[in-house]
Symmetry: C2
Subunit: 673 residues, 2 copies
């Protein structure tokens, strides 16, 4: 087992040079790390994990729910990507959730999780996630663990500094990693006119206090640089938001070199309360755009998609007291605020120190107009004037910082592959542990909140190599759980993760367990094609559309024999699961469909669209092992030629007695109407 | 925490009545099962699991790789369903794998795993899996852990008794769970003519010894009953195959009742060697059909799909010494042969006993023509003549049996929710343990082979309810690991599983680890659009198709600036990953694409098709966190109106020096040609 270090080689000289001169805590071999603590990670059968670990899926576009400390995967929640497993993005009810101004988009790249907070503490209502590629934000209900809403972000690209959240969930934000020509201007411009024509934006998406519904309250028009990550302030700084920015060089090609030229880029400080006031006061400009807003209705179990046609744009060059830049070495990635709200940590991924900024000093520098000029018309605060101090020789490639609520910060280092614990006030390094290999984000339960739950830190590593049994060229991603309850961090467990997790939040089990919904009440089901009871099952023709209102209950469908479908018909199977007991889904599939299955929860209705490709008899069956007679839960649909005179009939049951059935006259298919 | 038992209630009286009269080992509460053994399940960081656990994904259509004893998920291998995470079923290279005679099918239901064997023992070459809904069999290469081949099965539906395998991987089989009208006849028939017009088939898919390539050697035309599960013989019985059959009532509606009427259904014994001889001797009939055969070429990294137009059909009514029925109580599900090949265990899911058949007695009964009449023209052997004996009062709802190689059988019981260990020869029950809840399949490493590896048994449970932190109405599936190295089974671990695992095989780590492939050699890459080195990168127009031969290496694309794309163009990004180091994938996405990402392994080429929906400048970026400067791995593609005179140009690098760049003249996009 060898740990090849070639993956984190980078082409700029700085880090490589730094590695040889200032840094000595190299990762030990994997063998040396064969420690850990069985008793701490093990959750015995019948016992529960302490924390829900809600993890972004990165390039799988989903969120995953793990337990801590066991590292067990309890659920993949489909968000931005189609999920054949349960029909998300394939059923008629869920397809609208993936609609965008570009049409139906079956995939995205979900990097960050933000759990809703009240007074800066987890309230267990919603999880938000971002889509990087086709900019969007999603809201997941933490009672049903379902995606309930997705809003597209116009005037954006590479939606990376998203969906960070304000203290009382007033806003989630969405910043452009990739600047682009604004949607309301001429977008067909030469790429080498980047500096003239490409802009960044930060969107403030308002969250309805009661429903969680999202709307884009306003956007800030910003220089064409790359906004990477963000955190809202807390406590005294709660009206502010802080964003890391790189590529202040405004390069549009080979950014590996060209965006790494300057010694400092920026942390951007935004007074969102002030911006909100300006927006309310009509200081913005309504600009034409087109973006999708998709909402799932819990009563009909159906999502709808509509387009919005304008957005309110604020220009901080005109509104001078909203946005400030603070110089930050070098290509800052993480931008994290401590539980007190006083300290803002900028992690320059090519920097040799970690700068910690002081909110009080920022306020004083703004009051004193202690500027170091402007950048694109926006004031740049003097580095020394806003700096609390720098953590010296912390490690190589600092990325992200979280907090334990006891005055300590924990920073991940990609290049030197470690977590470093340091004191927020004194800036002294207290402890360091290697990670295998090349950690990206780290996550402490409640780490980004005002009152961290602490106890563990999880490393989300970017390189796996030899950590698990190999699975060919393509490997899982690897997380590591550390116990941080003592002075020193202790490795407890290596656990693999699905997709490419970037970030996660963890919340105590007791907050979510008690509010987890078990079924959908069938009496509340307002789906237009619901069948409440088998007596409501039916097959109806509307032109060339055939609507089957079908029921499922252990262990049969009603109807389970259907005839009279014809070539050219489009068949909609609307399946209502009649069960009202937890964990009794029924699934539905029809042979040859160019579609996924539908997996239908108790009390719910879902619809599978089917266009028969030939005449014949097509089996249907339940795809979820629902009972001892699950294998018997099947039926048949007959498809006849266009223009045939086979009548539309449907039925369930009443085969003739077996022994007396003459061959060729088995069963019946007596129409119910 | 209460375990509601309502899920496994079934509507026939038998089992319910039996439950109250003959069975007393009810599952204890979950609390009572809070035992287990931390040290046994824990695999310390830096250490490896002992076994690869290759698990079917059920309704997710995939296979998953877990480690035992840790229960950790190392990989989801996309097989029958689209997988947005890595572009499987979305990239141009992989889309042909999901082609069928019904067109492109994005989903299926994968129930069973069969690992290739030589002399009845795991050889670690391939894993086969079945698609239930649109009948297919897939072959996965266990060096690359990729799906290499998918073959459609004509004249079939509900392809459930599949893909079981002969001792030297001569054949995998595929039997119809749902009988249907044969493809070569009139398929548009009334459903109530089931007994006349619906037939079952078993397909014998020949496996090429060297390449693993599949072809349908022949099919057996069988009565219209439901073939459920199967096992080949071993040793002395290796030329035979055994299939469980239910619905000998030939019901076509409400099978829950109508297929549960008879006291006995059948185990079907097939002399496949004899059938093969008949096939070779021209005793079959070639019948017209149409089915897809899809093969991935390892050199081009590209799959192709072609249609086959006939299949060889053998009729066992004419070839009298090929197929025999053995009566088996009641609605048999599992059908398992012990390591010696002498014993065949039929698990009637509604039966009160487990019958064990003797291969020697079967041979004698056939020789003696000791028949109990015929069924649809096929001889029925006398039950008493072929029976080794019955396990009495074993439990309720027996489903599946595996073996430990020490003379013991382990049977899963869905209704009484337990595993029961019994002696194969004496038929005495030796031990029983509850499972939480309602076990389906179980799996012992090597359990279906001639030489089981033993040590563990895994229960794949169908009901989860309160076993883990709740995640709303939709829950994970739950597996349980038991240590079977001693006389008594001991619960070690509860671990969740993705999809709806049905069956699994486990194979020692040492067999697969040493042959796991790490990269694709770029010098072997014969993709028609490969770029080996940046000098081969290009953008070429062919009518309205634009082909981008693009390279990725840490941390840039070449080219990363492209202009001259026009509305109406179809753009193919052919991305070649230049890396030759393990675990350095690059990903690729373009904003707004109605497509998934592509995730490209070292040395590989994959293609993303993009049809721009508007003019403008579209970011592209690497979706896999590949280096410290991964965030800088981006570029832009400009799309101009149809008919515009923007020239087709492409480039990487050479922005002007930052400080001296006049605004509006940043960078360049000097065409390379």
């Amino acid at each position: 087992m060898s740990h090849s270090s070639t993956k984190f080689l980078i082409n700029t000289a700085l880090v490589v040079a730094a590695a040889s001169t200032m840094y000595s805590c190299k990762p030990k071999s994997a063998e040396a790390a064969a420690t850990g603590d069985a008793a701490k990670a093990y959750v015995a059968p019948g016992k529960y994990d302490e924390f829900y670990n809600i993890v972004s899926g990165g390039f799988n576009g989903q969120m995953s729910i793990y337990g801590l400390p066991s590292g067990r995967l309890f659920r993949i929640i489909p968000v931005f990507s189609q999920f054949p497993e349960n029909g998300y993005g394939f059923s008629e009810e869920t397809k609208p959730l993936l609609n965008t101004s570009h049409g139906f988009v079956p995939w995205d790249d979900l990097h960050h999780i933000a759990l809703s907070t009240t007074d800066g503490q987890h309230d267990g209502r919603w999880a938000f996630g971002n889509a990087n590629n086709t900019p969007r934000i999603a809201r997941i209900n933490l009672s049903t663990f379902r995606t309930e809403e997705i809003i597209e972000i116009p005037n954006s690209a590479g939606n990376h500094s998203s969906p960070f959240i304000t203290e009382n969930t007033e806003y989630v934000v969405a910043g452009t990693r990739f600047s682009v020509p604004m949607d309301n201007g001429n977008t067909d411009v030469p790429i080498n006119t980047y500096k003239d024509n490409f802009k960044g934006t930060v969107s403030f998406i308002g969250i309805d206090k009661n429903t969680g519904h999202m709307n884009i309250d306003f956007q800030l028009l910003l220089p064409g640089i790359n906004f990477d990550l963000a955190r809202a302030g807390k406590g005294k700084s709660k009206d502010w938001f802080f964003f890391s920015c790189y590529n202040s060089e405004k390069a549009n090609t080979l950014l590996e070199v060209n965006a790494s030229a300057k010694d400092k880029d920026f942390i951007m400080a935004v007074n969102w309360k002030k911006a909100q006031e300006y927006a309310r006061a009509g200081k913005g400009k309504k600009v034409p755009v087109k973006y999708a807003h998709n909402v799932l209705d819990e009563k009909t179990h159906t999502a709808t998609s509509e387009f919005v046609n304008e957005v309110l744009m604020l220009d901080p060059k005109e509104l001078q007291d909203v946005v400030y830049f603070m110089p930050c070495p070098k290509s800052p990635h993480g931008c994290d605020t401590d539980p007190s709200g006083e300290y803002i940590v900028g992690s320059g991924k090519l920097a040799a120190v970690i700068p910690v900024f002081s909110f009080d000093k920022i306020q004083k520098a703004i009051a004193d107009k202690n500027y170091d000029g402007t950048y694109d018309g926006i004031p740049v605060l003097k580095y020394d004037a806003v700096l609390h101090g720098e953590v010296q020789k912390p490690g190589l490639g600092p990325l992200h910082t979280e907090f334990d609520g006891k005055g300590n910060a924990y920073t991940s280092f990609f290049v030197s592959s470690e977590i470093v614990k340091w004191d927020i006030k004194s800036l002294k390094v207290l402890d360091r542990v290697p990670t295998y290999y090349s950690i990206g984000h780290l996550s402490i339960p409640g780490g980004p909140t005002k009152k961290p739950w602490g106890k563990y830190v999880v490393a989300y590593n970017k390189i796996t190599k030899d950590r698990y049994l190999p699975t060919g060229p393509e490997l899982t991603q690897s997380a590591q759980l550390f116990d941080i309850s003592g002075d020193k961090m202790k490795l407890v467990l290596d656990f693999p993760t699905t997709g490419e997790p970037h970030y996660a939040e963890s919340i105590p089990a007791e907050i979510l367990m008690k509010k987890s919904q078990k079924i959908y009440k069938i009496e509340d089901n307002q789906h237009p094609y619901v069948a409440k009871g088998e007596s409501q099952a039916s097959v109806e023709r509307k032109g060339n559309e055939v609507h089957v209102k079908m029921t499922a209950i252990r262990s049969h469908f009603t109807p389970d024999n259907i005839e009279g479908i014809k070539m050219g018909d489009v068949v909609y199977f609307h399946l209502t699961n009649q069960e009202q007991d937890w964990d009794v889904p029924h699934g539905f599939a029809v042979k040859g469909a160019n579609n996924a299955e539908i997996l239908v929860m108790p009390g719910e209705t879902q619809t599978l669209k089917w266009v028969p490709d030939r005449t014949g008899v097509f089996p249907i069956y339940c795809t979820d092992f629902c009972s001892a007679l699950h294998q018997e839960m099947q039926g048949y649909v007959r498809v006849s030629p266009a223009g045939s005179n086979v009548a539309l009939t449907f039925s369930t049951g009443k085969n003739l007695p077996v022994e007396n059935t003459p061959a060729g006259n088995a069963g019946n298919a007596t129409p119910k109407k």
